[in-house]
């Protein structure tokens, strides 16, 4: 375990601000903070770097989702960095997210002691981030219509849709590329082509695993639990119940609004950690605290959000929290693009080379590993 840990923010006006430190007696110089910051400016990717600064071995973490922030560990002489690299990275992610969510509740000593951490963003979270940028969601819709399209043409289309000359196609496309939804490739010397490799569907699934677990382990809540889930998915008429597959054209429709809301929750890593814990089974606050390493106040506030968004429900008597709906985003094979490709070839909109490259990519993305 490191000797000390501290969290620094580079504020545009005040400069380096040490937001948290453990132990509180730790003394840091401006030079040290400068050198750590400089180390991380040489690349923009998430990274944990180890540097020897003023007789201290410091491992510092930085990622692009928290610009200007870094978490640093003062290592012990006998710390084997490679052995603890993964733990330090995961704990730094946890600290930065918690600093964003509830800075007053960040207790660095306790976090180190408990070994609390956060995993790298899941595929589902990467999918969710698509729906948080309107231009990206728009591009996905366009790619669903086209399957394959030249980047230049997409760029012009996007500018026209957004009515802005300054929008960058690459920026709007980045979340789709990061999530593996599209692939961008140069075909020949001049044609940059975008291929749709996956499509995604976002919905509230019934909390099947949690219900099954309750059936086995919490028979006292089962009937009530089933009723609460049923009230959402199959309410008595005249309500039509939940059907996310109904086609909608209006971007402000309740289904689209709900998708944005759910995506906003999924991308928040601390929320996602709690959601993941509740997916398998109902839990008490104490169990959730144990499982997630999050302070009670943060859990309380996230669960309150879950309750108001009809994601979780509380069984007061049993002091249990359980999912009432399970926000889910799943990827599927976009089979509908195959006839599109065939039409595009026959109408000479794309070359044989582009079509064959597309089929290659689809094959590679969706074939079962040997």
């Amino acid at each position: 375990m490191p000797d000390a840990v501290f969290v620094v923010q580079l504020d545009d006006l005040q400069g380096f601000v040490v937001q948290k430190r453990h132990p509180t007696t730790l003394i840091l110089s401006e030079k040290k903070l400068n050198l750590i910051f400089y180390e991380h400016q040489q690349d923009i990717e998430e990274s944990l770097k180890v540097s020897e600064i003023e007789d201290m071995q410091i491992a510092s973490y930085w990622d692009e989702r928290h610009p200007g922030w870094f978490v640093c560990y003062v290592l012990r002489p006998d710390d084997d960095v490679e052995m603890i690299r993964e733990d330090l990275t995961s704990s730094a992610r946890f600290i930065l997210e918690l600093m964003k969510e509830a800075p007053d509740r960040v207790d660095l000593g306790e976090i180190l002691q408990r070994g609390s951490g956060l995993e790298v963003l899941s595929e589902e979270q990467l999918f969710a981030s698509i729906f948080l940028t309107p231009s990206t969601a728009l591009l996905l819709e366009k790619m669903q219509e086209e399957g394959v399209e030249r980047a230049a043409k997409l760029g012009i289309w996007l500018k026209d849709q957004i009515q802005s000359e300054t929008i960058e196609l690459r920026e709007a496309m980045a979340p789709l590329m990061d999530a593996g939804i599209v692939k961008v490739e140069m075909i020949g010397k001049t044609a940059e082509v975008v291929f749709l490799l996956k499509d995604v569907f976002s919905y509230r699934a019934p909390p099947v695993d949690s219900l099954s677990f309750a059936l086995q382990s919490f028979p006292g809540i089962v009937e009530d639990y089933k009723q609460r889930v049923g009230a959402f998915f199959t309410p008595p008429p005249p309500s039509k119940g939940y059907n996310p597959t109904l086609p909608v054209d209006d971007p402000n429709s309740p289904i689209m609004e709900d998708r944005r809301k759910l995506s906003g929750i999924l991308v928040k890593s601390l929320y996602y950690k709690i959601l993941k814990a509740l997916r398998s089974r109902p839990m008490t606050l104490a169990e959730l605290e144990e499982k997630t390493g999050l302070p009670n106040e943060v859990l309380g506030s996230v669960l309150w959000t879950f309750e108001s968004e009809r994601i979780a429900t509380q069984f007061k008597e049993q002091e249990l929290w359980a999912l009432v709906t399970n926000p889910t985003i799943e990827a599927f094979f976009p089979e509908y693009v195959l006839p599109l490709v065939s039409t595009k070839i026959s109408e000479k909109q794309i070359s044989q080379e582009i079509a064959s490259r597309y089929l290659d990519h689809l094959g590679r993305t969706w074939s079962e590993p040997a």
Binding site: L10, D11, D12, L13, Q14, G15, F16, Q19, E30, K31, L33, N34, L35, F37, Y38, Q41, Q42, M99, K100, E101, A102, P103, D104
Partner: protein, 283 residues
């Protein structure tokens, strides 16, 4: 420090807003403020300024008539000072602007008044290549004894000017000039209201420094940029007029090791800050 100022109307509509520094996601702040406005309709603050913490920030708010006034500030901010500033803001707005049929579109002159209230910190960045005298200029501004040995700056050195200018604290950012630190310059000049480009007045250095002028204009187009023709005591020094011609920015002479230049330099910075404010108001 006050990071943003918001005035919301009865329906939670934003009548006025201005950002002075980066804060948490602006979109979620607006959503929060709309909810806050609705909530405040149900309580009586008795014309007092109250605050609440949200993540790393502190929101100070007051209600007068149909309007809700909000400062997004830091937790470390002195609440009595914030209350005083809030009273000033409320008074000015209610007296001169609240009766307008559409205050959101008829607020000429209000911006400058808000600046007077809200600007508590002004960032002045000092940029230039290695060895031109940036840190010496910083010492001069702070009235400090000059170190005998040259100790190159690492990254950035941030110090306050002992004097306030127009009731604002001046924060001086002395950026390291060595080429290995050039990757930091664009980030470090962010949000600067004034950028001082220091040259050693040699032709070679002044010509190179043109790149810095361009960088500053790209990164902080609203900042006031001034040139410093330092080391005017050396025989090879170009005149400040010539340096200014080459850099195409207003440029002033300096001998940073000569304490008699201190007041003059502070006046130059004061003028740049005031001119910058006037230009922002006119825009």
């Amino acid at each position: 420090m006050i990071r943003s100022v918001y005035i919301l109307g009865e329906q939670g509509n934003i009548v006025y807003s201005k950002d002075y520094a980066k804060s948490e996601s602006a979109e979620s702040i607006v959503e929060f403020l709309v909810n806050l406005t609705q909530f405040l309709r149900t309580v009586d603050l008795e014309e007092k300024t109250e605050f609440m913490n949200l993540a790393a920030q502190r929101f100070f708010y007051a209600v007068k008539g149909h309007f809700t006034f909000v400062f997004v500030a830091d937790k470390a901010d002195d609440s009595s000072q914030m209350e005083e500033k809030m009273e000033q803001l409320v008074d000015i707005f209610i007296k001169d602007f609240s009766e307008l049929p559409d205050p959101a579109t008829q607020m000429d002159g209000f911006d400058a008044k808000v600046d007077e209230i809200a600007v508590t910190m002004v960032k002045v960045a000092i940029l230039g290549y290695a060895g031109v005298g940036k840190t010496t200029t910083l010492h001069l501004l702070r009235g400090e004894t000059l170190p005998l040995v040259h100790d190159p700056t690492i990254g950035v050195s941030i110090k306050k000017l002992p004097e306030e200018i127009s009731t604002a604290n001046i924060v001086l950012w002395d950026l390291a000039g060595q080429s290995r630190f050039s990757i930091l310059w664009a980030k470090m000049v962010a949000n600067a209201q004034v950028v001082i480009i220091v040259t050693d007045s040699t032709l070679e250095n002044v010509l190179r420094s043109k790149k810095l002028v361009q960088l500053v204009k790209d990164e902080v187009p609203d900042a006031k940029v001034i040139g410093i023709a330092n080391k005017q005591d050396l025989p090879t020094a170009l005149t400040p007029e010539r340096v200014g011609q080459i850099l195409a920015i207003p440029t002033y002479e300096l001998v940073a090791i000569d304490i008699s230049y201190r007041d003059r330099l502070i006046q130059i910075i004061r003028r740049a800050i005031l001119e910058g404010k006037a230009e922002a108001a006119a825009a």
